[in-house]
């Protein structure tokens, strides 16, 4: 700790930070542009000037950029000095000489850092009456809009895009006062994190194009803290609604999970909520009329629910919903809504995580790793935010070297200059090339079994207690020695693996390496990527797969099946799933979107998406996180699944419709924990529903929310009573507590004078650090240290390519492989066309050229796919895009036959 004097008042601050960070942490309003807490300082914008004094007696002082000054003990500075103040307002005035007069049509307006800083410095009237510089714009794809006139040359965009996210196609062009930020030519921004440019850019050069389709100012949105539904990492997001439509997703800072950034799938994959494909009305099929209201539905269900019911849960439904179903059908009749293979994989993952032998890191912790080993995951496509963290880990390791030359960690450009192309160790093992290969120090393209065998061999080399691999190829054995050597020297090694290739041995091999690395001097961590947002939560309920229903050995097969938020055909295959579904007399499907399985339902019930529901989910590190309802849909049939299911339970127990009591998610969660203590802690993921601050709820709407007395006046001039929220401490109105709420309940970031997302500074204990009161989320796996070693032994046989049969592996795609995000038009545009990736050797043998159409026979289905020849792929292996709309329900990996279509 050091003492610094700001305007002659002493303050205690942390050393190792820069002066700007210290001032912001202390709550001073000091303007800045180019500095970003996640990206460090470059000192480019000259906006954060303060006056520094030599000592007590120095009254002249000198101007200095606070973001480029280290904290020293006994430092004297002045923020309010007239010279410093004038300097800051002049810098803004210069920037504004070329800034256009188009705030009214700028999407950034109302959440604009430049607006905030201009007001903060007091520059309120323009004196510049000469010509303004203009630029032409570029088309940057379906996600990001470009309006280059507004640029203030802070360089944040390229620093984020190139330096932080590893993008290649955004750069700075031209020179002097003409610098241009864009692509070499018009085209889609390729990087998976391009959406963050909208938040990183302090003004409106890069804005969210999907928001433009239904533009709403930040102050007009009803917002709630939410959790991303599009992969297993559980990034924290803020979802905003206006006029009954979900309008925007932004990143919600959580220093442990996603930090400041989220990926494009999470940011732009929200349009399914507004889809015309939504289920709007309960439907009882095969009667007239099919659409029914709630009382009619319950009368119909009363008979159906009385008998034994099979319930199928969902990895994308909340804990509450899955538990409500389990409660309705009973423990023995509850099954996981995933294929048997997947249940087995998840069991293994849980067994390893639960063993307490190894540390499961958060994303933030994984950024601290010095050696990263990836076994069989294409992170950029299966868990994008983790790939971004791996990039930081790799750069950070190289930057650690800079401590020797006394460069502080925030001095970004100097550090990058110092390390040049130097990178830390990233070891990547995957069948085809991945985006992270470009920063990997060692990459090997192996077939899935070979990855597992190599993994086992590494574990054996690290500690001979672990099983050895027989008949290991010489080259692979040599490679294992190299990797084991690197891992042995690591201090904080991180092993990443997952269910991506559907190979259990890889998961076990990864665990063995992590266990073997655990010595006194090392702290190995292990992280698994799992398929869906609540896969871990569902797996923790320890139920069988729906495929087990057939073998359950029941004398009388139950007549009723309830499928919760799940498309069985997607994970099981169309013919198997439909024959399974049709073996039941009554099939109740509860979901928010129509899909193949919902077509076969005899009773179809609409439910809320994440935006219309409260719920708890468990992410891949076992962190239970709560998401909150964003808005109350006008259609009262759209309710949380758990609300429907809890009422069904009451009906089943013999209550009439009049006697139904209002379901409460807290009760459900409480019962869940009593019944399954492994979920203990999940109830603390957010404050309870009766939590109040000074007797007040926390408003979902900003204080300048507009149009309350007009937005529904076309329907009826008498305003309806605002919807109430009995389940949570949040209210659907703008009335309530205006201070900083507890971290899990932050509906939006705003602070007086700070309308933009940069107001996060005010919500943090220290700039870039955790939120006040700790980051949201409760880790359910506490990692009890256990002394006995866990040794997994499942070394697979070496893979032998078969001339006539290929092993078809799934290749995930960030855009396309996920069920819900594909409903966004932009995501659909970016998703790949169906293809089959085959090895060069196989292609040469069969005389296949690029883009030839191949016939793939797999699980009795036939697909015609364009060939993509991959040099690195091992022979006998072929890959197809995972779960894209044309290729779902294939239960990969599987054996398939390839036939070349005859040339005509």
């Amino acid at each position: 700790m050091a003492i610094i004097y700001i305007d002659n008042k002493p303050y205690e601050v942390k050393e190792g930070k820069n002066l700007l960070e210290a001032c912001l942490t202390l709550g001073f309003n000091l303007p800045y542009f180019c500095w970003h807490p996640a990206m460090g300082s470059v000192g480019a914008c000259r906006q954060c000037a303060v006056k520094l004094f030599k000592d007590d007696n120095d009254h002249t002082g000198r101007l200095a950029m606070s973001c480029m000054e280290s904290i020293r003990d006994n430092l004297h500075l002045s923020i309010d000095d007239p010279v410093a103040k004038a300097f800051r307002s002049q810098v803004i005035e210069w920037l504004m000489t070329n800034h256009p007069h188009d705030c009214a049509v700028c999407d950034e307006g109302g959440s604009c850092h430049l607006q905030d800083m201009t007001v903060m410095t007091g520059h309120t009237y323009r004196r510049f009456h000469y010509k303004k510089r203009t630029y032409t714009n570029q088309y940057l794809g379906p996600f990001i809009n470009h309006e280059m006139n507004r640029c203030i040359q802070c360089y944040r965009c390229v620093r984020f895009y190139k330096d932080y996210a590893g993008g290649k196609d955004l750069d700075v062009f031209s020179a002097h006062d003409h610098v241009y930020f864009g692509r070499a030519k018009d085209g889609i921004l390729e990087n998976e994190f391009s959406g963050n440019l909208a938040e990183v850019c302090p003004t409106g050069v890069f804005t969210d194009k999907t928001l433009k389709e239904h533009y709403t100012r930040k102050w007009d949105m009803t917002m709630a803290p939410s959790i991303c539904q599009h992969c297993s990492l559980g990034c924290n997001i803020i979802a905003g609604e206006r006029y009954g439509e979900l309008r925007q997703i932004t990143s919600r800072f959580n220093s442990e999970v996603n930090g400041y950034f989220i990926c494009d799938r999470g940011r732009f994959g929200y349009e399914f909520v507004n889809s015309i494909n939504r289920i709007q009305q309960p439907v009882i099929r095969a009667r007239f009329p099919e659409a029914v209201n709630k009382p009619e539905l319950f009368v119909h269900l009363k008979n159906i629910l009385s008998g034994e019911i099979i319930g199928i849960g969902s990895p994308r439904a909340s804990l509450e919903s899955n538990y409500a179903l389990r409660k309705l059908v009973g423990k023995s009749n509850f099954y996981q809504g995933v294929a048997k293979k997947q249940v087995k994989l998840m069991e293994t993952v849980l067994q390893i995580i639960n063993s307490g032998h190894v540390h499961i890191p958060s994303i933030k912790e994984s950024e601290q790793a010095d050696v990263v080993l990836i076994l069989g995951e294409d992170l950029t496509n299966s868990a994008p935010r983790l790939a971004l963290a791996v990039r930081q880990a790799v750069v950070k390791t190289a930057m650690d070297e800079a401590k020797n030359i006394n460069l502080p960690s925030w001095h970004d450009s100097a550090l990058r200059e110092y390390i040049q192309e130097e990178n830390g160790e990233l070891l990547s093992l995957y069948p085809v090339n991945t985006k992270l290969d470009e920063i990997a120090s060692h990459t090997q393209y192996l077939n899935p079994d070979e990855i597992a065998r190599l993994g086992y061999a590494i574990a054996n080399l690290l500690n001979p207690e672990y099983p050895a691999v027989k008949n290991l190829d010489d080259g692979v054995a040599e490679y294992a020695k190299v990797l084991a050597g690197i891992l042995k020297n690591a201090i904080r090694p991180l092993i990443i693996s997952g269910t991506g290739l559907g190979n259990e041995s890889i998961i076990k091999a990864a665990a063995n390496i992590a266990f073997a690395l655990k010595t006194d001097s090392q702290r190995a961590s292990l992280i698994y990527v799992v398929p869906e947002c609540n896969s871990i939560g569902l797996a923790m309920m320890q139920a069988g797969s729906y495929q087990d229903v057939l073998n359950a050995g029941k004398i009388h097969q139950p007549e009723t099946l309830i499928i919760l938020e799940n498309d069985l055909e997607r994970s099981w295959g169309p013919s198997e799933a439909s024959s399974f579904i049709s073996s039941f007399k009554n099939v109740i499907v509860i979901d928010h979107l129509h899909h193949a399985s919902s077509q076969k339902a005899t009773v179809l019930i609409p439910c809320g998406t994440f935006a219309e529901a409260d719920g708890t989910m468990v992410n891949n590190e076992g962190r239970a996180q709560r998401f909150f309802q964003v808005f109350m849909p006008a259609n009262e049939n759209i309710r949380e699944s758990w609300r429907w299911l809890d009422e069904f339970k009451q009906i089943k127990d013999g209550r009439t419709i009049e006697e139904l009591s209002e379901p409460e998610n807290e009760n459900l969660l409480g019962e869940l924990i009593t019944e399954m203590p492994q979920f203990k802690g999940a109830e603390m993921a957010a404050p309870p529903g009766d939590f109040r601050i000074k007797g007040q709820k926390i408003p979902r709407e900003p204080h300048r929310y507009s149009g309350r007395t007009a937005m529904l006046a076309n329907l009826n001039v008498s305003e309806p009573k605002p919807p109430e929220d009995p389940d949570t401490p949040l209210s659907f109105t703008m009335e309530g507590y205006r201070g900083i709420p507890p971290s899990p309940l932050i509906p939006f970031f705003w602070s007086p004078g700070w309308n933009s997302v940069q107001s996060i500074n005010k919500y943090q204990v220290e700039v870039g650090g955790p939120l006040h009161g700790g980051d949201p989320g409760i880790r359910l796996f506490t990692g009890i240290e256990s002394s006995e070693r866990l040794i997994l032994n499942d070394v697979p046989e070496a893979f032998h390519a078969n001339e006539n049969e290929w092993l078809i592996i799934p290749l995930p795609h960030i855009f396309g492989s996920e069920e819900l995000s594909i409903y966004s038009s932009g995501v659909k545009e970016r998703s790949p066309q169906p293809y089959i990736a085959i090895a060069r050797q196989d292609a040469d043998r069969l005389n296949i050229r690029e883009d030839d159409v191949l016939q793939l026979k797999l699980n009795d289905r036939v697909f015609n796919l364009k060939a993509k020849i991959k040099e690195e792929l091992a022979k006998g292996i072929a890959g197809i895009p995972f779960n894209i709309p044309a290729l779902y329900g294939l239960n990969l990996p599987a054996k398939g036959i390839l036939i070349k279509e005859k040339d005509e």
């Binding site: 049509v105 203009t134 062009f173 031209s174 241009y180 007009d220």
Partner: protein
């Protein structure tokens, strides 16, 4: 007593003064141009809609009686998809006009908008939009705003330089 008589005398004198009361509605009152009455949406000199859907009027409205949704045409020009004012709530404070960066929303000297049913006081865009520039003739926001929205190309607006040639390194 004297005071009473004096008061009566003064009152009687008023008989010979000019009348202030007018025979409304047969006789109309003369209103000044800046009188704050019915709200209209005006058009720019090219008869395009002036409103760009920036939401500032809605934000400025103290009774929250303005609600709109902005949309964009194929040229990137913003316009309100719907624009609704609930006049049964409006207090005619004129903050919306003050907030409007494009002179689109204006309060005009007209107060004759009484209705028998309150619902009829909800005005939609069709009811608000007039074919006139209102109080500020000659102003076209898109000529001074930087972005190009079908009115002018980049660099063709007032006080704008031609677009930068990014391939040039000349000073």
């Amino acid at each position: 007593m004297i005071s009473n008589l004096r008061t009566m005398a003064l009152t009687f004198l008023h008989i010979f003064r000019k009348r202030e009361t007018i025979q409304y509605p047969e006789e109309k009152i003369k209103l000044h141009p800046r009188w704050r009455g019915r709200i209209v949406l005006t058009r720019d000199p090219d008869m395009g809609e002036r409103c760009v859907g920036c939401y500032l009027c809605a934000a400025a409205c103290p009774v929250d009686c303005i609600s709109l949704q902005s949309a964009e045409d194929e040229n990137g020009r913003r316009y309100p998809e719907f624009f609704r004012i609930n006049f049964s709530r409006c207090i005619f404070c004129g903050y919306c006009e003050e907030a409007c960066p494009t002179y689109a929303i204006q309060l005009i000297p007209d107060f004759e908008m009484a209705e028998y049913t309150r619902q009829n006081l909800v005005y939609e865009k069709e009811d608000l939009l007039i074919d006139s520039e209102g109080k500020y003739p000659g102003y076209n926001y898109y000529k001074v705003a930087g972005l190009s929205a079908g009115i002018k190309g980049k660099g063709e607006g007032d006080n704008e330089e031609a677009p930068v040639d990014i391939h040039s390194l000349l000073p």
